[in-house]
């Protein structure tokens, strides 16, 4: 049983006194994997913070191009080790090596790192703002401390705490990262961190730019995000864990960015249903079952009109759910958690139409249904997220039902409306959209929410409790960098004492700056 160590202060430190170790499991067999990883005590976490703080001080002085070099070198290292990394990820998560891991998620991960590198190099993300008359300047700058990143179990590469979106954004904004590995893919995380370490060395970055631990007592995790030298934290995972971390960070005045839970409501309007109900049913079923439904943007709640078209839609979904093999879950507790969620839904009046059973890493494709009347009565409980191949169809008697349902929704990452290809649903859309709009971060029209493109215009955020703050996005560069920055002003500070981004001469010749109210790439007029 190989024992591995945490990465603290640039060293894979030997913690010979650790008595407790954890393992990843192979979901396809249910068996523990041989690699073992230590429990970090609070002393080790504190050492990581101290090292991260010194790296933060160094990073402020390092050229953005060096940070970009690191991110690009790291991306290349991941590509060089792609086979090993993806094989390990497939073993630890049971996600398919092809196409999911090797041809989709790994390229997405390296693409994110390269986009983050480009943003660091470009510097426009800093929103440098200059008032030439008053000689006042401002810009977003690094946070002067390490960012603690907790990654989820469902994207072992693209949202991994050592290689994913939060990592890329935090580093590109000039901050060191203290990563906690998700217990579902410990060895994948280690392999990625090794590739990152090599890239740090190659590019002359501070070794403590990335630190990694695998496991800690829950109370120590709460202390960590509240540590006085930690700048901020980012978390993707369950609402329960997210809210506990939020309370700890809030009490210490530390920003924390959370992506917690979402049922991603979809409304199928009557015109769309009669025009292409079967097509939408197929699209919806595929989105539901993709990755065994373990996406934060999984469509878990679909509202369809009552009547024969609605029943036909439901039957088409049921057929597809039965036809498809059940996927393998990411976590040993997956089935138990889904089971618990389904019981909550049933308690509130939902009925199982197909599926409903499972254990360990397996759960059958499950569809539930409930009337709008029941939903409106037990709206809170009927928004319980079942993280897996599970979805709830709500049968709405009319548009008024749909609008009422939308009004009862909690904050979600996404929401969608399916409409007729011509204008048949326009009136209904206009009534429903304003109510749904304010409940979701990303609104889709005739599209399933599961794909989250890495675009500057992407919003992967939304109202509480989908996230902790509705003004930010976790995906999309450069906006995602804004979470890990502080706004700093310079009032009547001499030119040579300003950061390069704020001096009269544009530091790259291409950086966008807001000068006297106009966005420009030019040097300042007085130059």
């Amino acid at each position: 049983m190989p024992q591995y160590n945490s990465l603290i202060a640039g060293r894979w430190s030997s913690k010979a006194d650790s008595q407790e170790f954890i393992h990843s499991y192979a979901p396809s067999t249910g068996e523990a994997l041989p690699d073992s990883y230590p429990l970090s005590d609070y002393g080790e976490l504190s050492a990581a913070v101290a090292a991260g703080l010194s790296a933060a001080v160094e990073l402020v002085r390092i050229a953005p191009s060096t940070i970009a070099d690191f991110l690009e070198t790291y991306a290349a290292n991941i590509e060089a080790g792609a086979e090993e990394i993806c094989a390990m990820a497939a073993l630890e998560t049971a996600l398919p090596y092809e196409p999911r891991l090797r041809s989709v998620e790994l390229p997405r991960t390296t693409n994110q790192l390269r986009q983050a590198a480009a943003a660091a190099r470009d510097r426009s993300w800093t929103t440098a703002t200059i008032d030439t008359k008053l000689n006042i300047h401002s810009m977003l700058r690094p946070m002067a401390g390490p960012i603690v990143v907790f990654g989820p179990n469902n994207f072992p590469l693209a949202f991994n705490s050592v290689s994913g979106g939060d990592f890329a954004a935090a580093i590109a904004a000039g901050n060191p990262v203290i990563a906690k590995a998700n217990p579902g893919h410990l060895s994948t995380t280690r392999l990625l961190a090794e590739a990152a370490c090599k890239a740090l060395q190659t590019t002359g970055m501070p070794p403590s730019t990335l630190q990694l631990f695998y496991h800690c007592l829950p109370g120590d995790g709460l202390k960590l995000v509240a540590h006085q030298s930690v700048a901020a934290a980012a978390f993707t995972g369950s609402r329960e864990a997210g809210l506990a971390l939020k309370a700890a960070a809030d009490a210490a005045g530390k920003p924390i960015y959370l992506e917690m839970s979402s049922v991603n409501p979809i409304f199928v309007l009557p015109g769309a249903l009669s025009e292409r109900g079967a097509e939408i049913a197929a699209e919806y079923s595929d989105a539901c079952l993709l990755g065994a439904g373990q996406f934060c943007t999984n469509p878990g709640l679909v509202v369809v009109p009552a009547g024969s078209s609605g029943e036909a839609f439901l039957e088409a979904v049921v057929a597809r759910f039965r036809q498809r093999p059940a996927g393998t879950l990411l976590s040993q507790s997956g089935a138990a958690r889904i089971d618990e969620a389904i019981r909550a839904l049933q308690q509130a009046g939902a009925e199982i139409v197909t599926g409903g059973g499972g254990a360990g890493f397996q759960f059958s494709n499950t569809l539930l249904r409930v009337s709008a009347k029941s939903f409106l009565k037990h709206a809170d409980l009927l928004q319980t997220e079942a993280f897996g191949p599970v979805s709830l169809i709500v049968i709405a008697a009319d548009l008024a039902d749909m609008v009422a349902i939308a009004a009862k929704l909690h904050g979600n990452l996404t929401g969608g409306i399916y409409t007729h290809s011509q204008s048949h649903d326009d009136g209904a859309y206009d009534k429903l959209e304003p109510v749904l709009r304010v409940k979701v971060g990303r609104l889709l029209n005739n599209k399933m929410p599961t794909g989250v493109a890495v675009s500057p215009a992407m919003v992967h955020g939304g109202p509480y409790p989908a996230t902790g703050h509705p003004g930010f996005t976790a995906v999309g560069i450069p906006a995602a960098l804004h979470r890990f920055a502080v706004l700093q002003g310079y009032d009547t500070v001499a030119q040579h004492r300003l950061p390069a981004e704020l001096r009269d001469k544009n530091p790259t010749g291409e950086m966008w700056r807001l000068v006297d109210g106009r966005w420009t790439q030019a040097d300042l007029p007085r130059q």
Copy 2:
């Protein structure tokens, strides 16, 4: 004794059953003023929230130009009533009618409202972002609920909850406001709200766009910021009250923007001291005593080098503090609070050099001194804010002392460094600046912090506990609007269903949008 009412749902509602009333005081005489204002119970606050929520829904559909019209009409109304408003503010605060209120603060207030109007009209504040290839759009939009604003006592016009910076930013971003009057200037607030109401009527805005209450039980204030239909809150005031509101808002997942406390440290480097110590001493004394020291940017902590120049500096400040008449405080409890703060400073080793006494609305101009050694030993206590004409000078043996002091600072709104006019202090600046920089929102060089210009580049924010989040500013348009907005994405939504700001055609012809990574005012290329 005229009794006035709260402004709820567009009516100055009669609360005949209120048994408890409050009054403002005239600080110049210490006597209660005749106008009386009711305690709002939680039922009344809930009614305000319900009305604010319906106004929020209406505001989303209203043209930004109408919101701008309102802000401009309101500014004109304030100017038309300037004599009455400023006379009342002078009575309630003892701030001078001229020049402070009539010629400085009132024009600043109307200027802020007009800048906010221009931002609403221009729409560039929304940072509309368009990915033409993927057909994904995002922008900042109104929060879909009322914003609760708590104003401070020290700016009866420019930071008033019904006319100040937070009000202007929240409205310009398309949100209704529920304002709590500061007890120090109840009638000034009522006069302003009357002018706002007229402007709402004139411009056809929803009557519930502004609601005003004067007083509530502390527990009801906490419930208000956590109310499920409140979108966010903004608070300017004491750290104690701010942290209580923050805890309540945080627990409910509601954004809250706080401006709490700050001692605004200033470091005088040896070259500057020897070059123009007397000049800096005069500048510092004037900044300290302005408005009886009751500014959030008051320089409350100044670090000077030990030795004869430092002692001469201190003596010059003492002379000026003694020469100047003591100002009148804003609040009846002002002297008691200052006294308490001074006792904390003394307990930690600071010695009173001049002043130190007062009662009620009066407190003598007070200077304290302490050694760097003591400061480093009791750094937390020696950063106690005394909100009044009080400042603490720290005598530093050398640059190492200064850097160590900077490292011990809490988060502050501002920090300053005075340097020699030539390069004499450059080495010291380079050592001190990185340490100070990360402790403050706005860094000044050879300038006192008390003036806060309303510039797009202004940062009136900073690290906790100066504020609750280091990424925002309370002053400066358009950045201040970003606090009261949510990021909303549109994924593959049909053109005619997008907000005007995201459609191919630029809605104003001048709005700045980030299109495929470039800021532009143009229509979209595919048009």
